[in-house]
Symmetry: C2
Subunit: 284 residues, 2 copies
């Protein structure tokens, strides 16, 4: 497995590989890898002949007061895991190689970024779409894998790819959970044992939402029940819990076959998100 | 010469060509081609094995009240000229193929777009950078040719290419002028004979600026003299006439070896721009 930090070197290497007929599968990450990331690398491995992971803690997607400084950096461990999961190349740029002193170009998706994460983290998604556009141009992917855990993010990236005609197929991979249901996240390592137990309410609320949906409970009622459960958990501060259209993220109020339940909450100082697809009984 | 309107078809064809080792030279245009555009096609011909011209009157780079509706559309003539100039493929997308109903992604360069054209046409450059990003993704150029006539535009596109890591070499080609000095522009065909004569003041002001620079006149004085000349011409309304840094477009006030003089004016209802590089005597 190669590890390269120079954007120019990675780009010229991968352009050459693509000309040689390789299909390139890319997994953009901020490191602090866990089994969720590795499932993306494994998926890229299945669907492409050359697998690239990128590790870059992107400053522009963190807001003021967020956890950029303390975000876990575990490069040696990450590289080992990438190799085991089947990556051929890991791209590990430095910040000043990614953002020149006069950098002034931004990619912005306007509508899908307004609600949910975008409402709570106003500059977050512009940071994400800009860095992903850069990473796509550097790594020239045939496919790129993202996790369903960041549901809104993968929707926004799909929109960007479509709107800007990136010739990349986006693959969204399932959420990976601990045995007790906690969705894997690099931020889980911030949690104390008590907090970690409290955080389980997110998954419980989502599973209950799934059961309610199958039982024909209305989307609006399901959302209220999720909010109640998360709100009632000690030490957990609800940010949002909604039932939304899977493509537009607009709240679903009427009858539908399926929808996505999305939740965000602070557990102590740690902000966590989770989601689940809901299936409703077909209306007769 | 092929003519294709489908973005998907062009993209997959050109990706294949690139894999086969072709170097792709792209010339983005809004049609209404003149010898200026053709010089770009000829330059692309010299520097690449496969030459693509794109013809698309991009609505998003026209502001309210600008000339989008009346912009000349001369497709049959354009295609003939492209073929004669050596294009292999002309991409002629329709508006709804370029902008889906839910299109919501924009590429924005923040600093270089503030002054001059950006100040007079506030939404113009976001339209330009967004469409050029799309065209680059569709046509996967090795090089792309732009005219020096749109001096600020080519700077902004260079900045975007650098900031977003597009693997494209930008080539800027010299301004092509009529025998009497008028810079070629698709908008020249809006001019009456009287207006066309009046429009010559732009080039005269720039040539005078060049002579003054060689004579050691200060940038500030040169700017004032350009403004005076253009302002004094009957039927010509000055928008700006400045001497600016060639890379940042900031006004040049101090001693310098070279700078760019940029002018914009309305001649009747027609808005024209022009520019020239100024060389100053080396300071001892």
């Amino acid at each position: 497995m190669q590890v390269i930090s120079s954007p120019e070197q990675v780009q010229s290497f991968l352009l050459r590989q693509k000309q040689n007929g390789q299909t390139i599968g890319v997994v953009p990450t901020m490191g602090a890898l866990h089994q969720g990331h590795l499932s993306l690398v494994q998926r890229a491995r299945q669907e492409s002949t050359l697998v690239v992971a990128t590790i870059f803690v992107n400053p522009t997607q963190f807001g003021p007061g967020e956890d950029f400084e303390q975000y876990p950096r575990t490069l040696q461990d990450d590289l080992q895991q990438c190799e085991q999961a089947g990556a051929d190349l890991v791209f590990t740029p430095k910040t000043d190689e990614m953002y020149g002193a006069d950098a002034q170009t931004f990619v912005r998706v306007t509508e899908l970024t307004q609600r949910l994460e975008g409402a709570h983290r106003p500059t977050h998604f512009e940071g994400v779409t800009t860095i992903v556009a850069k990473l796509f141009n550097i790594t020239v992917p045939t496919i790129a894998c993202f996790g369903q855990k960041d549901y809104q993010q993968q929707l926004i990236i799909r929109q960007m790819v479509k709107d800007l005609n990136f010739g990349v197929k986006i693959v969204t991979c399932p959420i990976i959970r601990e045995a007790d249901g906690l969705a894997l996240s690099s931020r889980n390592r911030y949690l104390s044992e008590t907090e970690r137990n409290r955080a389980l309410v997110l998954n419980r609320a989502l599973r209950n939402a799934g059961q309610q949906a199958e039982g024909g409970v209305s989307p609006a009622q399901i959302a209220v029940e999720m909010q109640r459960r998360i709100h009632d958990e000690e030490g957990v501060e609800l940010e949002y819990a909604v039932v939304a259209d899977e493509r537009t993220l607009q709240p679903v109020c009427e009858d539908t076959d399926s929808a996505v339940a999305l939740v965000a909450a602070r557990v102590g100082k740690t902000r966590l998100i989770d989601n689940a697809i809901l299936r409703f009984p077909s209306t007769p």
